[in-house]
Amino acid sequence: MLKQLILAGFGGQGVLSMGKILAQSGMVEGKEVTWIPSYGPEMRGGTANCAVTVSTSPINSPLVAEPDILVAMSLPSLEKFEPTVKLGGKVFVNSSLIKVEVKRKDITVYQVPANELADELGEVRIANMVMLGAILATEPIVKSATVLEALKKVLPSSKHHLISLNAQALQAGANVVG
């Protein structure tokens, strides 16, 4: 198994965190993982993306030119990365913010109203985990249970009360595509 993802959106939407949690979860499951952020003279509201690779064998290039999976949390990120998705790949579109159709017909598109679902849970900042839930429901890169385990490891104990909210977000995302 070798899965390469590009997670993209506005700064502040949690795309880098989403990638880190996914990579951390892969590591918990004993898989090979890499995480590379885009970095630049950017700030909140600018574009942000990261490339994540999860594999059962050692990873050669951690750079992702043609992702298997694209997460587009915002319109500019969809426009930028849609052409790069591997033939037959998957695109997860944050339909709360993206109102245009995906042009390509050779990839599978999942519309996930991540912001609205996160709002329903009372915390719009958890839209990234809703999206992750949707991905993991269609691609078993890691188990959802492992994500929660990884969160326990990376979050300070003062934030552990948020883990159940994260579990709900993952489930909400999974329900959309499931």
Binding site: A23, V33, I36, Y39, I59, N60, P62, L63, A65, E66
Partner: protein, 350 residues
């Protein structure tokens, strides 16, 4: 863990307790990490007023026999060159980390490999060499910190870790429990605490030309010894390779993926990865191309290491070059296509 942070933790594991630096993207997480961690282990972290000040603090600490680290990125390393030359001239061991970004000048802040010449050919003035290590993963970044300090101490010479912005910024799992224990040697040559011995003086000033020539010859002999004993390289499927791709650092991993693609289509390709850039692993490369008909050098520069490849092979094989610059990285597909081109050319010759 981020590559930059892994260097910091590895420095602590290697017994380093002194860091002098100045922030610059894309290596700033390293000073940031040490600013937090060094006070916990009794280390001295100091953000100097400039790179020039920082490298001279390194000189001072090294003269007292301390294990000392500094880090920067390309333009900052340029500023440090005077101090590096002085440290080499005075034979003071220290470890310098360069997490390269695109140049020349201020350039940009995205990853590049365009400081190869500066690192390996003596970026400052005078006849000197710096031992240059090129890691390809976050784990290797960590592993090479101890190796770098050990080599620096062994030969009383500055050593450098030459990484790029990708390596510094990316996260990969890293295991510190498994890293090789570093050897801390007693430095009888260090200054300070003069108890019944002769005064130790470290200088690179030799006004008498005969004396300076003697010093230069001594240094040259040391460099020969290092070149003889300390080359390191990694090979991947080179044994029967018709086409050998030469690349260092992260680019070597991109090339490995390209070689796997080429192999799946019946092209016998392999990767030769110099781990020490100076000394360049000449013997190892000559051996690795024994079955080759063509060589491809790939870099994130407009062609620097390729000169060492050509020097090493002395015109025995055609050496092609493929490079991207300014923060752009070669893609697996592009390297694969270059390999394919060479393969077709080789067939055409038959």
């Amino acid at each position: 863990m981020k590559g930059n942070e892994a260097i910091g933790e590895a420095a602590i594991a290697a017994g380093c307790r002194y860091f002098f630096g100045y922030p610059i993207t894309p290596q700033s997480e390293l000073p940031e990490y040490l600013a937090r961690r060094f006070p916990e282990v009794g280390g001295v972290y100091l953000q100097a007023e400039s790179e020039v000040a920082a490298i001279n603090m390194v000189y001072g600490a090294a003269a007292t026999g301390a294990r000392v680290l500094t880090s920067s990125s390309s333009p900052g390393i340029s500023l440090k060159q005077e101090g590096i030359s002085y440290a080499a001239g005075s034979e003071l061991p220290c470890l310098i980390v360069n997490i390269m970004r695109g140049g020349p000048g201020l350039g940009g802040i995205q990853p590049a490999q365009s400081d190869y010449f500066q690192a390996t050919k003596g970026g400052g003035h005078g006849d000197y060499k710096v031992i240059v290590l090129a890691p390809a993963s976050v784990q290797e970044l960590a592993d090479m910190v101890g190796t770098g300090f050990d080599l620096a101490d062994k030969y009383r010479n500055p050593a450098m870790i030459l990484g790029d912005g990708f390596l510094g910024q990316m996260m990969e799992p890293v295991d510190f429990a498994g890293i090789k224990k570093s050897k801390i040697v007693e430095k009888t040559w260090a200054v300070g605490c003069k108890k019944g011995r002769e005064r130790n003086v470290h200088t690179s000033l030799y006004l008498d030309p005969e004396e300076l020539e003697k010093h230069n010859i001594k240094l040259a002999q040391k460099y020969e010894l290092i070149a003889e004993n300390e080359t390191m390289a990694q090979e991947y499927l080179t044994e029967d390779a018709e086409i050998v791709v030469v690349a260092y650092g992260l680019v070597a991993r991109i090339c490995k993926a390209a070689v796997e693609k080429a192999r799946s289509e019946g092209i016998r390709a392999g990767v030769f990865r110099p781990i020490t850039l100076w000394p360049f692993p000449q013997k190892e490369l000559r051996k690795a191309v024994a079955a080759a008909r063509g060589v491809l050098a790939v870099e994130m520069s407009m062609g620097q290491m390729v000169e060492d490849v050509r020097l090493c092979l002395e015109g025995r094989l055609p050496v092609r070059f493929y490079g991207r610059a300014g923060g752009m990285a070669p893609t697996t597909q592009a390297v694969y296509e270059e390999i394919k081109k060479i393969s077709l050319e080789c067939k055409g010759v038959e």
